[in-house]
Amino acid sequence: MCRFVLSVAVLPLLGLVLARAADKKETEATCGNNGTAVHFLDSPKEAAQQAKLEEKLVFVLHVSGLFEDPNLT
């Protein structure tokens, strides 16, 4: 009975931790190189703010569809 109560209490907590880990992984995937040699921030707004601080220009990529087609990419 005690083991059952423990598992009932721990499992949701474990689920929460795993969900947070997944969220963290997702965040890392959206702010990084995305398989390129270029470091991408999450949004042009964020890029503009950082560009002002670092006195740099802004590079914004607009993509339509997926880049899986080697003829396109």
Partner: protein
């Protein structure tokens, strides 16, 4: 663009050194009878306030991307010195630089628009189309008229006809000329450089790349989703 340009270490080093980068998704492609329809890319080089200095329309190789990025940085440095803090002069210098590239690289003349005549599209007008999110889709800006030379440019035109996105445009006299994506970018930028990105992407995607834009740009988790799939993510 990813394989040929953005994955290149030299391109990455230069872009990371001089630019802060981000990406947005513009519309989507459709699968019709198992075939992908649509899908393209445009790279915008902007000032820190989001005003567009230059565009690379469509996928390009690493050498082209690096050359265009370097041109933006060098032209910006030159324009800062020459404009001496005058925003109007800075804009005029950049538009003139685009007109000059159209002349030297494509043999066509365009008068750079060094002042802006009309106000932006009125978002509240009853005649303004709004997408479901309530914002108007970017207008398809009319390109400035061009002047062709009074002699034929056979070699230049043959080369232009083979350029990515080559299309026929007509000069003021109605004569047809071939011009690729980047030539038409210079034509557009000679009139609209330093305009905000949200007023330009419609003209870039629809007029130059021939892609229908159905929604305003949105942030996306990843422009290269197969990267995570390949790594098991």
């Amino acid at each position: 663009m990813r394989v040929n340009a953005l994955a290149n270490p030299q391109v990455g080093k230069y872009l990371n050194e001089h630019f802060v980068s981000s990406f947005q998704k513009v519309g989507t492609f459709k699968i019709v009878n198992g075939q992908k329809q649509g899908g393209n890319v445009a790279a915008y080089f902007c000032a820190p306030d989001g005003r567009v200095l230059h565009v690379v329309a469509g996928p390009v190789d690493a050498a082209t991307m690096l050359r265009e990025a370097k041109w933006v940085v060098e032209t910006t440095k030159k324009a800062i010195v020459e404009s001496k803090g005058n925003g109007g002069k800075f804009k005029a210098i950049f538009r003139t630089a685009h007109a000059e590239r159209l002349r030297t690289e494509h043999g066509l003349m365009v008068d750079a628009v060094t002042y802006d005549l009309s106000a932006a599209q009125d978002e509240n007008s009853a005649l303004t189309y709004n997408d479901p999110s309530g914002r108007p889709i970017a207008p398809k800006l009319p390109p400035p008229p061009i002047n062709g030379p009074d002699v034929s440019l056979k070699e230049v035109q043959l080369r232009a006809a083979q350029a990515p996105g080559a299309a026929t445009i007509h000069d003021k006299a109605g004569r047809p000329w071939q011009l690729g994506n980047q030539g038409r970018v210079h034509m557009l930028m000679a009139a609209y450089s330093m305009a905000k990105i949200e007023t330009l992407y419609g003209a870039v995607f629809e007029n130059i790349l021939g892609e229908r834009v159905s929604t305003k740009p949105v942030e996306t988790n990843s422009p290269f989703p197969w990267v995570n799939r390949r790594s098991g993510g």
